[in-house]
């Protein structure tokens, strides 16, 4: 058959996939075996018992459900903000003409080069002044703010290929700048907006540094995981449980929305390619 992959491809790719999945298998197995066995290595088969002890301990000892709720709040709010505002900014920078456009764009994109660590001290002092320490907004604001650089850049790049005739057709049809954005650009820019959403969600869900510094009791999962790990005893099984719980959400999100990473631009204006 034409276009059929050669036979050796499948075992080769399979082997690579196996290497990829080994850490995850290790994580799951670690969470399900008693600590006495894990010390010999999670792969050791001298003794093999499966137990849910670690899961029960973690569930009892740590406020996992609450941390899950905090994580969700932080990640969802700091994802929605750039999903709404980045396309609007990208549209304005790409299609509208106004004073200082270039300068403003450079200022926003410049935040690209700003690492998290740099903003921690000044932000910490600001939040302390404002009494925002241990308030989830102390994390959401920098999460959303720092995302604009790449989010605006990503959507604007996508709009580079956006057919200008569509904008002009809408203009002839009587759309002002806002109507053009809502009726024409937004419905045809779902791909980059979804990409912004997925990337930002992953980043904020997995974010550790800012929550650890700014939050005390309102801890998200990642910070809680760090706390579990912080204890001196050998509790690798419990750490594995926490890690699985933390990882499961981004994994699901990725599996559900991965088609947005592969979907092509939906902006064909109807001309013959």
């Amino acid at each position: 058959m034409i276009g059929r992959a050669p036979g050796w491809i499948v075992p080769l790719v399979g082997a690579f996939a196996l290497i990829w999945i080994v850490p995850i298998v290790g994580l799951v197995v670690t969470s399900l075996r008693p600590i006495s066995e894990i010390i010999l290595g999670w792969w050791s088969l001298q003794e093999f018992t499966l137990t849910l002890d670690a899961w029960i301990v973690v569930w009892d000892k740590y406020p996992l459900a609450y941390a899950f709720w905090i994580s969700t709040k932080i990640a969802v709010i700091s994802t929605i903000i750039p999903m709404l505002l980045a396309p609007a900014a990208a549209y304005a920078f790409h299609f509208l003409k106004f004073r200082f456009r270039r300068l403003l764009l450079i200022l926003i994109i410049n935040a690209f080069v700003l690492p998290n660590q740099v903003v921690i001290i000044p932000l910490f002092r600001l939040w302390r002044e404002l009494g925002l320490i241990d308030n989830i907004w102390s994390v959401i604001i920098p999460f959303a703010g720092l995302s604009f650089a790449w989010a605006v850049f990503l959507v604007k790049n996508y709009l580079e290929d956006f057919p200008n005739e569509l904008i002009e057709a809408a203009q002839v049809d009587g759309c002002g700048p806002l109507a053009r954005f809502f009726y024409i650009v937004l419905p045809n820019a779902l791909t980059p907006i979804a990409a912004v959403g997925i990337l930002q969600f992953m980043w904020t869900w997995n974010g550790l540094l800012l929550p650890v510094v700014f939050l005390r009791d309102e801890l998200p999962l990642t910070a809680l995981l760090a706390r579990i790990q912080g204890v001196y005893d050998r509790n690798w099984d419990q750490v594995a449980v926490a890690a699985i719980i933390t990882t499961i959400v981004p994994l699901m999100i990725f599996i559900v929305f991965q088609r947005y990473f592969t979907a092509g631009a939906q902006t064909k204006s109807g001309s013959k390619e």
Partner: protein, 364 residues
């Protein structure tokens, strides 16, 4: 329906002047075609009329009213784009209705007008489809539907047929002509295809380098071109240009050429003189293979293009000048043959070295 007047319209991008002080008036209900080679400013001009491009200087009036800074809707124009520009996320019906929705028309009104437009263009069966599910010709109809549904004062077409295949282009050309007769609106059409211009237009405006070379009816431009550019651009295949030299006086000049033919010309207007080198322009359809026309010379045949009903003979003269002649005879010359071609001097047009037309009386 509307009249359009352009008064000293200019367009500059920085220092670059792409449209230079253009005057034109378009009559109510007429079909005007802007034609010219790429980069001549015809699309820019159309976009300025549409309100998509700022006018650097001059005045644009629709029905006598200054419209330089008006939005497309205030101008009452609608436009069909070269690649259709259908909204990909909307059904055909919504595409057509979108402009009306933006105008805030009542739902029933919109429905009725969309149905009427669909009826006119015979796209009723496609209303629920997306643009990606349509063929090129269907997309073209939808784009036209989107334009007519608004009942604009002025229709603008920007090379609407250039994305269609040859056969469909001919069909759509006829349909556009019918549509114009049916709705009687003022239409302005941009194309680089002189066939479209000749077949569709009431008035053709030939543009080059941002200026009007000539404006007139198709037959005026075909029979009475103002210069060599228009003469060469209108008509297909292109007009032949053959160098000739003049001797004699203003009252009567003798033209002779390297091809060993000669004829007499009585000047009618300025620009003529003795000892000049001119271009004699003769269209391929007037340069016939055979011995029966008054002015004759020989050519060596390079290629023969057989179109069935007629054939074009591509050849070169004794002095190496390429010419195209026509023959309707069944005996087809072959490459390498030497054939005699001839023309009637009545059909000849003369141009000076700058390409300006030199008018003449038919020699007595």
């Amino acid at each position: 329906m509307a009249t359009l007047e352009l008064d000293g319209i200019k367009k500059k991008y920085g220092e670059l002047e792409v449209v230079e002080g253009l005057d034109l008036s378009v009559e109510e209900g007429s079909f005007t075609v802007f034609v010219g080679p790429s980069g001549c400013g015809k699309s820019t001009l159309l976009r300025m009329i549409a309100g998509l491009e700022e006018i650097t200087a001059g005045e644009l009036r629709i029905d006598g009213e200054r419209m330089n800074d008006a939005t497309p809707v205030e101008r009452g124009v609608s436009m069909v784009f070269q690649n259709y520009a259908l909204y990909p996320h909307m059904s055909v019906e919504k595409n057509i209705a979108f402009g009306l929705k933006m105008l805030g028309l009542p739902r029933d009104d919109i429905k009725r007008r969309v149905a009427a437009a669909a009826e006119t263009l015979q796209i009723g069966a496609l209303l629920k489809r997306r643009p990606s599910q349509l063929s090129g010709g269907q997309r073209q109809r939808v784009a036209i539907g989107r334009a007519i549904v608004r009942e604009p004062r002025l229709f603008l077409f920007d090379e609407p047929l250039s994305n269609l295949d040859a056969e469909l282009r001919v069909t759509m050309r006829v349909e556009l002509a019918k549509l114009h007769r049916q709705i009687g609106a003022t239409m302005i059409y941009v194309t680089h295809d002189q066939t479209e211009a000749l077949t569709l237009a009431d008035k053709i405006v030939v543009l080059r380098d941002g200026a009007i070379e000539q404006a007139g009816t198709p037959m005026e431009l075909y029979l009475d071109p103002a210069n060599a550019f228009v003469a060469g651009f209108i008509g297909s295949p292109q007009m032949n240009f053959l160098p000739v030299t003049t001797t004699g006086t203003d009252a009567g000049l003798r033209l002779s050429s390297a091809e060993l033919y000669a004829l007499n010309v009585v000047p009618d207007g300025a620009g003529w003189g003795a000892d000049m080198t001119l271009d004699l322009g003769i269209r391929p359809e007037h340069l016939q293979v055979g011995e029966d026309l008054p002015v004759r010379f020989d050519i060596n045949v390079d290629v023969v293009e057989n179109l069935g009903g007629t054939r074009y003979v591509y050849g070169s003269t004794a002095s190496g000048k390429s010419v195209i002649a026509e023959t309707r005879a069944d005996a087809i010359p072959r490459a390498g043959d030497k054939v005699t071609v001839g023309f009637d001097p009545v059909r000849a047009r003369y141009f000076n070295a700058n390409g300006q037309r030199l008018r003449h009386k038919l020699a007595a």
